[in-house]
Symmetry: C2
Subunit: 435 residues, 2 copies
């Protein structure tokens, strides 16, 4: 009987499990052999003593865990408690007008988990009862609409995978601040599968009258966050979404409904969407005059700078995820473009002198995070890692020096510069800016 212990089931042994039998341990030991001499093994930093030793008989494999009744809505393992959104308290006047950052250093695929998708509030996060919420569409239309959430869900629906990025992502670096962190330099971004209705479908329902050229989107938050959007973009690929990663939108993302303006600055993707007004010119709201504009070197301000251009960053190694001694690694990162698909990503190990083509992970979707990887045989000498994205329109991600030559150091927004990570001999990684 003892040799068959591993097939014992709890229904027969309600008291729990006995340790694996000694015979079985011997079998495992014998099966392991001693062949730990592979060069590849050594290259990956595998330790010979581990390869030659039997597996630990960890207590977990001998205990019966809970069953299906304890977690009707699951959570991450308690060993992942460090994978959380973080914020910078000194960055803004109050937490209600602030931002939290996605832990990109831990993100493994192109989907950002809804639990850690970055937040940006202009006046806190309202709690909205979906049965009370209405979306009004009015202005230069034939048939104004006042829609309940139930109404919205009856329209033809689509699902799309897109990123949303705050244009202030990395904005502290225009003047030279260097937070030594991937999360804080690039974490104002997330990518999700969004589900909702094409805005063009809703506007087909209302009809448009002569002169219709702009749409004002307004949120139900305390700030009544509002932005003017050209009608052409609205009729192209914009969505009014109620779903995110297979479930209802999270409150942080505008529950029960938000705008999705693929590839454009995050703030235009108005959350807790309650009103769309169709007009013949932009409204020049506070958010597009005193905010979300860029002061240029000649004293003029650029406004309505909506699309986010090609950008990329290496997520391993990075300040939070150092290398551990020489050996074979895989450099990993994300690339994205607000203009379409990522066409190519190159990686440099020497601060931009030489470049190698990285592998892009399928599916490569327009205006979505795209994962790239490159094998890296690190000899243990200091390195300067960079990634450079090119999108399908031919746009090449610029250096920060090139951006500054055109835009100076006044802006906060639209910093899509190449990031340099300095890897020191001990494997630690630092955020540096090359001259």
């Amino acid at each position: 009987m003892a040799a068959d212990r591993r097939d014992v089931r709890p229904e027969f042994h309600p008291q729990g499990f006995a340790p694996v039998s000694p015979q079985r341990r011997g079998l495992l030991r014998a099966g392991l052999g001693l062949g730990a001499g592979s060069a590849l093994l050594a290259g990956r930093g595998l330790r010979a003593e581990e390869v030659a030793s039997p597996p630990a008989e960890a207590p977990y494999s001998l205990s019966l865990g809970p069953g299906v009744v304890d977690r009707v809505y699951g959570q991450p393992s308690r060993f992942e408690a460090g994978v959380i959104r973080r914020n910078v308290p000194w960055l803004t006047a109050s937490p209600e007008t602030s931002i939290s950052f996605t832990p990109l250093q831990h993100q493994q695929g192109i989907i950002t988990p809804s639990g850690v998708f970055f937040e940006r509030y202009h006046a806190g996060r309202p709690t909205v009862d979906p049965s009370e919420h209405r979306l009004m569409i009015h202005g230069l239309v034939d048939r104004p609409l006042l829609l309940t959430m139930e109404d919205l869900r009856r329209f033809p629906s689509v699902s799309r995978i897109h990123f949303i990025e705050c244009p202030a992502n990395g904005g502290m670096e225009w003047r030279g601040a260097q937070l030594n962190s991937l999360q804080f330099t690039h974490g104002m971004i997330g990518c999700a599968e969004w589900t909702g209705v094409k805005l063009s479908t809703l506007l087909e329902e209302t009809g448009l009258t002569r002169g219709a050229k702009w749409v004002l989107a307004e949120g139900a938050d305390g700030a009544h966050m509002n932005r003017s959007i050209p009608l052409e973009k609205c009729l192209d690929d914009c969505l009014v979404v109620y779903g995110q990663n297979g479930e209802a939108l999270r409150p942080e993302q505008g529950y029960p409904v938000r705008l999705l303006i693929p590839g454009w600055q995050g703030n235009v993707n108005v959350k807790w969407l309650r009103r769309l007004e169709i007009g013949n010119q932009p409204w020049f709201t506070r958010e597009e005059t005193s905010k979300y504009t860029e002061l240029m070197p000649d004293g003029r301000a650029r406004g309505f700078t909506w699309p986010l251009y090609a950008k990329s960053v290496i997520t391993f190694p990075c300040p939070e995820m150092p290398a551990k001694g020489p050996g074979i690694y895989e450099i990993r990162g994300f690339a994205w473009s607000g203009l379409g698909k990522v066409a190519q990503v190159d990686v440099s190990l020497d601060g931009g002198v030489n470049w190698q083509r990285a592998r892009l992970q399928e599916p490569v979707l327009p205006k979505a995070l795209t994962r790239f990887t490159l094998e890296w045989r690190w000899d243990g000498r200091p390195a300067l890692l960079q990634s450079r994205a090119v999108d399908e329109t031919g746009f090449v991600q610029p250096t920060l020096a090139a951006l500054r030559r055109v835009r100076g150091t006044n802006p906060i927004y639209n910093k899509n510069a190449i990031q340099t990570w300095q890897v020191k001999a001990d494997g630690t990684v630092f955020n540096v800016q090359l001259a």
Copy 2:
């Protein structure tokens, strides 16, 4: 000043917000107009009185919610508290050897939220410390390996979107039981973006010796769940995954590491994976002899029936999501195949007499849930809704009658039959089986 209230920011008014000014209310009212006469509007069940009335000034739009510091790991809105996994207590002897069901009736895109991804345990859910966990690969190999999680993450990585389905999904219906629920008839499935290492990469590292033909996968749960898998499949598209939907695998899905055997029965995707043994023949474990086999009408049992064939189901309307009176709706559902991509889905409104081609939502990925939709102008008369998937190999989803002719009524597994939802005149939906 009053007219500009909506632009007030909390940094200037720390005490909160005053109500929207009366002038502004008047503006909204005027802007709405009265044009509610659209036939399409009426078709969608929009209520004229709502279209003509101003938006409710709900309290939520006037209050300042919390900011970025209260939820470092977010949760769904409290209004979504009903979107949870559910289980059937009488289905199994104990919750530790049971299953919970995905609320498919609420799933909006192809990604199943990790929080509600179905669970299946053979002996409860162990809590595994990733720093203690090891994966052993041994047997007919040149270089046995004992890998830490850190080792695993250093190998070249891939991310793929695939479904996992328990072959018992819908199994209660072989003999005629009819749970009136989408969640309980089809909820033993989930689809996620998985990240990890190709199993072929790991086997390249160990090398394979002469005679290697089968792989035994074993879990670290109390059951030491184990299955034999042909080497050919392992070298094709199998993964050893540690990531799910952008974050670490959830404990319910085998944290910190599981096998992913795309398109094959869920139980073969061994969770809490701790051992892979390479051999020259199958092990005929308990899970492939007394369990996960199908008793055929002639008294023989089919075993090793791994792939899940083309299948689909309508998720709206369904028993949990009834129709609300005549009008225009969108029929929605999921299709999938363990053999590759979904090529086509047809929908019938009359129990399989006439069929219409449904629209497939991009991206259509191999061995992944695929969303389909079809406009439905319901006249309010009783209907019998069905969907029928065809995959890229030409496999056509069969009727239950056709399946029973071949396999009888003894099996529990691999019921991929066409589902019929009966819509009654009042919009309620019932699970029925056609003769």
